[in-house]
């Protein structure tokens, strides 16, 4: 099993959600986050003084998937979240050692 984490632009959340549902991914966790990547935020002028906005609002979503479907899921997220502009975000994959469905106690892929 793998944990797929994606940080995307907020308005792309609906598209990504839809893409994952179309693949049959059942659940996900979403958080409102602030962050920046290579573009280091952007600068703004407020009351005459320029200041750097270090962090911009983003959405982070996490989903645990079967090893077999990781690539499809990552590709779907990338396709759905891409605008081609700076700040489109990132997707990364980490290994998951164990997974338990709390309600039933099911373990491993059964708990997906």
């Amino acid at each position: 099993m793998k944990l797929v984490t994606a940080v995307v632009k907020p308005f792309k959340l609906d598209d990504v959600k839809q893409a994952l549902h179309d693949l049959g991914v059942a659940g996900m966790t979403v958080a409102e986050v602030h962050g920046h990547g290579r573009q280091r935020g952007h600068s703004e002028v407020y009351r005459g003084a320029e200041y750097v906005v270090d962090f911009v609002p983003k959405v982070r979503l996490e989903v645990v998937v079967d090893d077999a479907t990781v690539t499809t899921v990552v590709d779907a997220i990338v396709d759905a979240a891409r605008t081609g502009q700076i700040g489109d975000g990132k997707v990364w994959v980490t290994a998951v050692e164990e997974l338990v469905r709390i309600r039933t106690g099911e373990r491993g892929p059964d708990a997906l």
Partner: protein, 766 residues
């Protein structure tokens, strides 16, 4: 109610309780059956013992048991040595049964002693009821406890009040929460117990039938909540509401919640009034203070006396339909409650409001809405007496209206009032604080009607605007605000802000910067009033970004300037001499121009107790023409010949003006600790070619225009023209100024100095 004694005592008690709970009894019958069951069990358990008694206290003492309630029992004894063994014989089976037991073993003196130290123990013992054993013991406990409570009332009622207050802070208000705690929230069952406790101290009367009925309804719901959820929690969560509603025979969960809210409102409102009477009763006797209570005027026909807002002796609600709003505004602005008597008169005797509303009524409404957090209590008092619905019939549909939605925390009506409170803190951000406040009050008014709530609101608004007597353009602006009140957050979180089409779409919907500014402030107020999940730094950043980008697209279209003078005013100006013309409440002053005229005129009007509702100042051919729309602060318009004479005198020599005004100011010292949002000075650089335009947004105060204009004079500025408006309790004044040499003011340091002077001027002189 037979307890099967062949099984172990604990098991049989548990089984008997479960039978009652599973049975057909509901409401008061269920409570009575549970009480009878435990009473009989305790009587059997105690048996024939002398010099001991079992008494029920707290909810069990009142016979108000719900299926999950604790059993509060005291074993009273007269000093028996073997009381411990006796107690074990009774408590162990109850512990075995799993029923929660709150128990103690005490002599009468011990119990009274504990009650005198511990408020919670005292409140429980006030409801003491004899169950078994020696009735003498029980009745002597009851007598001693009540006597101690009455003796200590002066010391302990303030503690009780503090506990009530603390609980309200922690649990919020039952009547407005979507998942309220029936017991602990303000307006819940504990507030009823506190009322009974205060009454037991013989300080105030016991609550009437309306409160008893309301408490019974809450107890009914609580009982079913325990039964349906099989838990003892008192929070009426969304997932249990449908089951509770059907168990009690309501049509649906909404009907249940409306009834719960109605009961809670009755309790909270009566409790507030009762606590005010307790305060009055506990105040030191008057001879220590002064012989006559002082009555301080707050507004025309409205006075403050002993911390309450009352009607003046000559006030006549039956002839003065705006009085109700004036009194409410004065109360909310001063942070004081309306007295019960004033509310009664305003509710029963007020003349119907003419339609469209007169300007004075509209102003008072805006002043009420702009009062900040104190609006909530005053609005609730008006609503409780049916005054809100009489003034705004559409309110009936949102009153106590639940929302089935995970983000919202409040009922629709309370959400609207909370949004107004939030908006009042944002009035400096907009050039039309009046429309912001009205927009906040009505943005979800459509939620009480079928269909999409935004569409319904858009349909209702023209009627409401016409009734309030708003100008057609202002009503249109309100309709725009209501129509688009979700546009900014929806767009900011769901559309690509880097896409010019997104920004264009918002710019087209909004139209101009004034509306954008209003919509932004309304969005923030609405979201903050919704609940903690609806607003935060994350969403604020996205919305700010969208607004900044849209403002960029909408830049460069300054508002059109109207011709300020009409024909008759031009005629006065052409005469070339100092002249004063009065027409109703409009005062026109023309005089050969010289620096510092505006503050002189404003000062004289303030001296004659006139409030300046709006003013324009301009000059033509070296004649300064100033037009004021005024209203008397108290009573009727002044003697105009005296005003004229003062205006002439001050034209020549204004040296006595400031001391005369300071004298007057002291006469209306206000006790309010209310903190309006700080004043704001905005420089509008592109608005004029020849002068610098600065806009002051501030909370209105006695003599404010005089202080602002004299501050400008102190800064060495000449006011070329000005437009001042009072919008409810807020003023927005634009001044076109030049320096002594007739140049625009551009130096940042000088601007900072001017801002400081103006901000200081907005504060009331000490």
């Amino acid at each position: 109610m037979n307890v099967d004694q062949t099984r172990s005592d604990g098991e049989s008690l548990r089984a008997a309780r479960d039978d009652v709970v599973a049975g057909p009894l509901r409401r008061a019958d269920l409570r009575a059956a549970l009480t009878d069951l435990f009473d009989q069990w305790l009587r059997d358990a105690l048996g024939d013992e002398s010099d001991v008694a079992l008494v029920a206290v707290g909810g069990y003492g009142r016979g108000a048991l719900a299926p999950g309630s604790d059993l509060d029992v005291v074993l009273l004894h007269g000093g028996r040595a073997d009381v411990k063994e006796l107690a074990d014989r009774i408590w162990y089976p109850i512990w075995d049964s799993g029923i929660k037991l709150d128990h103690s073993v005490r002599t009468v003196d011990e119990a009274t002693g504990v009650a005198r130290e511990d408020l919670k123990a005292m409140l429980g013992l006030l409801d003491v009821r004899h169950v078994a054993g020696d009735a003498e013991l029980s009745s002597s406990l009851r007598t001693q406890v009540l006597a101690a409570w009455r003796r200590d009332a002066r010391r302990r009622l303030p503690d009780l009040r503090a506990a009530v207050h603390e609980r309200a802070e922690k649990y919020g208000e039952l009547a407005f929460l979507l998942e309220p705690d029936l017991k602990e929230a303000r307006g819940g069952l504990r507030d009823v117990h506190a009322m009974h406790a205060a009454a037991a101290a013989w300080i105030v009367d016991a609550p009437g039938d309306d409160v008893k009925d309301a408490a019974a309804r809450l107890m009914d719901v609580r009982g079913e909540l325990h039964r349906c959820s099989s838990r003892s929690g008192d929070r009426l969560v969304l997932q249990e509401q449908t089951a509770v509603a059907s168990a009690l025979g309501y049509d649906d969960a909404d009907a249940l919640m409306r009834d719960v809210y109605d009961a809670a409102r009755t309790i909270a409102f009566t409790a507030d009034e009762m606590w005010r009477r307790v305060d009055a009763a506990l105040r030191p006797p008057r001879r220590w203070r002064q012989r006559q209570p002082t009555r301080r005027p707050l507004a025309d026909g409205v006075v403050e006396q002993e911390g309450e807002v009352m009607l003046a002796r000559d006030a006549a609600p039956e002839r003065d339909p705006a009085l109700v709003l004036r009194a409410a505004a004065a109360a909310a602005q001063a942070g004081l409650p309306l007295s019960r008597h004033a509310l009664d008169r305003l509710a029963d005797d007020s003349a119907p409001m003419p339609e469209p509303w007169p300007e004075a009524a509209r102003d008072a409404l805006l002043s009420l809405l702009g009062s900040g957090p104190d609006l909530v209590a005053v609005w609730e008092a008006l609503d409780q007496r049916g005054i809100v619905v009489r003034l705004v019939p559409e309110w009936a549909a949102v009153r106590c209206h639940p929302q089935r939605n995970a983000i919202h925390r409040f009922t629709v009506d309370r959400h609207l009032v909370e949004a107004v409170v939030e908006a009042a803190a944002l009035t400096r951000r907009v050039s039309r604080p009046d429309l912001l406040l009205l927009g906040a009050l009505f943005h979800d008014i459509g939620k009480g009607y079928p269909g999409d709530h935004t569409d319904a609101g858009v349909e209702l608004l023209p009627t409401i605007g016409a009734r309030l007597g708003l100008r057609a353009v202002d009503t249109e602006m309100l309709v725009t605000l209501v129509r688009h009140h979700l546009l900014l957050p929806d767009t900011a979180t769901r559309r690509d802000l880097d896409d010019p089409a997104t920004v264009r779409l918002v710019a087209d919907a909004v139209g101009d910067r004034t509306t954008l500014e209003l919509l932004h402030a309304l969005t923030v107020a609405d979201a903050r009033a919704t609940g903690p999940a609806a607003w935060g730094d994350w969403k604020a950043r996205l919305v700010d970004d969208l607004v900044a980008r849209t403002a960029g697209v909408l830049a460069g279209a300054p508002a059109p300037v109207e011709d300020l003078l009409d024909a008759s005013q031009r005629e006065l100006a052409e005469a070339g001499v100092l002249d004063v013309h009065v027409d109703g409440d409009r005062v026109t002053v023309v005089a050969p121009d010289r620096p510092g005229l505006l503050w002189r005129w404003a000062g004289v009007l303030a001296l004659h107790r006139l409030q300046i509702r709006s003013a324009t100042a301009t000059s033509v051919d070296h004649m300064a023409v100033t037009v004021f729309d005024v209203s008397p602060r108290f009573g009727s318009l002044p003697d105009w010949s005296a005003v004229r004479a003062d205006l002439r005198r001050m034209y020549d020599d204004a040296s006595s003006l400031s001391s005369a005004l300071a004298e007057r100011d002291r006469a209306y010292a206000r006790a309010s600790t209310l903190e309006p949002p700080p004043p704001r000075v905005i420089w509008a650089d592109d608005a004029s070619e020849s002068a610098t335009v600065l806009e002051v947004r501030a909370h209105d105060a006695v003599g404010l225009l005089y202080r602002l204009t004299s501050a400008l004079a102190d800064a060495g500025l000449d006011v070329q023209s000005a437009r001042m408006s009072t919008l409810g309790a807020e003023v927005v004044d634009a001044f076109y100024v030049v320096d002594a040499a007739g140049r625009k003011v551009e130096d940042p340091l000088q601007r900072q100095r001017i801002e400081d002077l103006l901000v200081t001027a907005c504060r009331r002189p000490a």
